[in-house]
Symmetry: C2
């Protein structure tokens, strides 16, 4: 599975309401806060919440990826998560700043 390329929406197709919805869940917002510090491996991400079942974590990641918030890319034998910060800042100026402060 680790080498699968997942689809990422073009930022121009991302709607504000999709971003807000993706960020409106405490577990998803916690992941976004984590990756806002810098890219993380899938294994590291959510490590602050070890009780999170793997399937739940996969679903949270999917919602965040489909909303244009994170990139989820293969890296070595695992996957790397990163925040699409610059693109989001350009499309929705000030939004991440206000949410992550």
């Amino acid at each position: 599975m680790a080498s699968y390329d997942l689809e990422h929406p073009a930022m121009t197709d991302v709607e504000l309401t999709d971003v807000l919805f993706a960020l409106s869940d405490p577990a998803r917002l916690a992941i976004v806060r984590e990756v806002s510090e810098g890219p993380l491996s899938m294994a590291e991400c959510g490590a602050t919440n070890p009780a999170l079942p793997k399937s739940t974590k996969s679903h949270l990641m999917k919602v965040l990826r489909e909303a244009g918030i994170v990139r989820n890319e293969p890296e070595g034998r695992g996957r790397k998560l990163s925040l699409r910060r610059d693109e989001l800042d350009e499309r929705f100026p000030g939004l991440l700043d206000s949410i992550l402060r």
Copy 2:
């Protein structure tokens, strides 16, 4: 019904994720954009979307009120809607600016 006092949460009890959820629906966001121009009567609000059933509109208003975003108060024989702008700006600096721009 018009004179009923509805409950409004204290802003200190409002969570960021509740606000984001309330704003993540296009119809609710449209209402917030409308009241961001100034208070509106319930009758005026949503007038740009006359196809909106009254029960749907009531539900949208309830979600926005319970998330601390709007005040819904009796005024004369009707009700007045207003954005809790100053309180929201104090609790979540920059958030409304980035969303309403």
